[in-house]
Symmetry: C2
Subunit: 150 residues, 2 copies
Amino acid sequence: MKVLTKKTDYAIRALLMLGSKRGVYVSAKSISTEQDIPYQFLRGLLQEMIRHDLIVSKEGAQGGFMMKKEPDEIPIAQLIEVFQGKVQVSECMFRKQICANRARCVLRHEIMRIEQVVNREFDKITIGKLIRDLDAVNGMTHGSGEKGGS
Amino acid sequence: MKVLTKKTDYAIRALLMLGSKRGVYVSAKSISTEQDIPYQFLRGLLQEMIRHDLIVSKEGAQGGFMMKKEPDEIPIAQLIEVFQGKVQVSECMFRKQICANRARCVLRHEIMRIEQVVNREFDKITIGKLIRDLDAVNGMTHGSGEKGGS
DNA sequence: TTAATTGATATCAATATAGTATCAGTTCTA
DNA sequence: TAGAACTGATACTATATTGATATCAATTAA
């Protein structure tokens, strides 16, 4: 059972970069290189994030991508939703009549409770929080001014 | 993001049936019919559960399957592990060097915390508990002696 | 003996995930 | 104003996972 797919993982790492370099456009190429994310794959993810109003882009030379929202306003719950779909008990459950099958019904009740717990936790983890965590770790280990390579 | 796959969903429902009919062998065919689970697919799941010591079988006419463990000793966390693999942050993370990538590292820390929360919750939900929940719901709505169809 | 059953395994189809390729359009800079 | 550095848009391919089906041998009760 995989919690995060590559898409979400890559998207988070791209946003961590954009969130750390505010006010400048960062190219897909530099994100791809620094974060070791396949270039064209990343391009698709960035487009998707534009469509969801998380980032903006600028075309042409010296163009690139920049945060649109505040890092603290982007919980990874939202990224999971964008790239993996809403957390749900089982695909088709909600299309069927509630309680059509009683066994499913009691199980559904339990799992919806867990869903809420999970979503609440993922909501607490924002890109902003991760950036601060990251700074703290890097600060302790490397001192400040670290570029932050792999 | 799908929490339960069909395999796990079907396996749980099969166990709920076996757990409700203790002491008799229940055929794959009757489980398939009552729970509306594809017959051959279910057969595979039952074999898998035998391999994991959850149920036993008896071959031949009047044969079938029966619980081996107590229903209260089977948390759905275990079924998720059997049919969907252990809950994990991302597939390959543990094969790589810890903290090889700092961004992944801080993220990993957060998500492992959530994993624990989730696993703890799934551990609380046992087949025995679901059977009791099921009885309570059926009791309230239909009165006792209900066969419990779809 | 035979029908009802599981054991074991092979195969297939559909979907999701991961990654690649291409070309048109935009913008900075020399 | 040419051309390099970019994004926009879209089509395509490969691989893995999920869901499902098919077949045949062995076992057992009646």
